[in-house]
Assembly symmetry: C2
Homo-oligomer: 157 residues x 2
Amino acid sequence: MPRGECRGQGWWHGKFRGCGYRLTLGREAILDILSKSESHLSAEDIYVKIHTRYPSVGLTTVYRTLDVLSSLGMVYKLDFGDGRSRYEFAEGPKGAHHHHHLVCTQCNKIIDYTDFIDDEVELLNQTEKGLGQKYKFKITNHLIQFYGVCEECSGKK
Amino acid sequence: MPRGECRGQGWWHGKFRGCGYRLTLGREAILDILSKSESHLSAEDIYVKIHTRYPSVGLTTVYRTLDVLSSLGMVYKLDFGDGRSRYEFAEGPKGAHHHHHLVCTQCNKIIDYTDFIDDEVELLNQTEKGLGQKYKFKITNHLIQFYGVCEECSGKK
DNA sequence: TTTGATAATGAAAACCATTTTCATTAAGGA
DNA sequence: TCCTTAATGAAAATGGTTTTCATTATCAAA
């Protein structure tokens, strides 16, 4: 098996242990679902998926686990203003990815866009540096959202 | 009285009437508070302020009024992820202003920054145009937030 | 000015995503 | 294997927001 590859029960083993957390069935199941899913799952979404395969894992555990994963930086907690949080796998140890979204204010559809991102990221990095210095913030992340009305919702008139 | 100035009970009179809404004490009070306040008030904040001067105005009305104002575009509803919505006066008929924030993930402090905004806005306008075309979105607004840890919270260790 | 349709309101109850409580179970170092 | 204590599920609590419903108030029309 090539070096550098994840093996056994996944690369997150070490992260849990190293931080004093225990590796449990529920946590593995949740990480498994999250890592294989398209983004933007709510706690309930995750619970439903988990529950079919591991009926013993409850919604409370889903919430608690998402909290832990969030604080470990393995998962991002997002908010699109529809009253429930969404969670997104942080794409493994190779690093974060972007939170640049297009949000329909009528049907709450979310589009992750990657167009134009290069220029944006460059500017954001500069801004981040400038703001960090001026306000003495340790900036770790950013979010860009454009709000509007999507094609279907415009059509509905 | 010079032309163009707001008079009587405020420029919003016309907007209400024009949309079939009635002008009530509660609505005036809320608009009054909002237009004079620093931004980022929660519904509760507004309710407390209102209640001292107009004890007859209830929290329910505050929520309902904020909804109406929001849908009229007179107020922006913001979400900083602390579980409660914040509201911000849309700065009158001369136009919106920016939603570029620095958010401390530990104490939830929000800083509105205006530094670096010119470059940002220019890039955002381009992106907005490009995204709007590609995804057929009618984009009306945007939000940029940088997340990090503020000076005090870093100090706490 | 009075009248009348109906929009707006307050109080209380309902809602619902999330968190807490608490007794029980299980991970994993010794 | 044992033992400390982290993790768990179920149920209750929390807290921001919305709904219900009977009452009140706005304002266009007479």
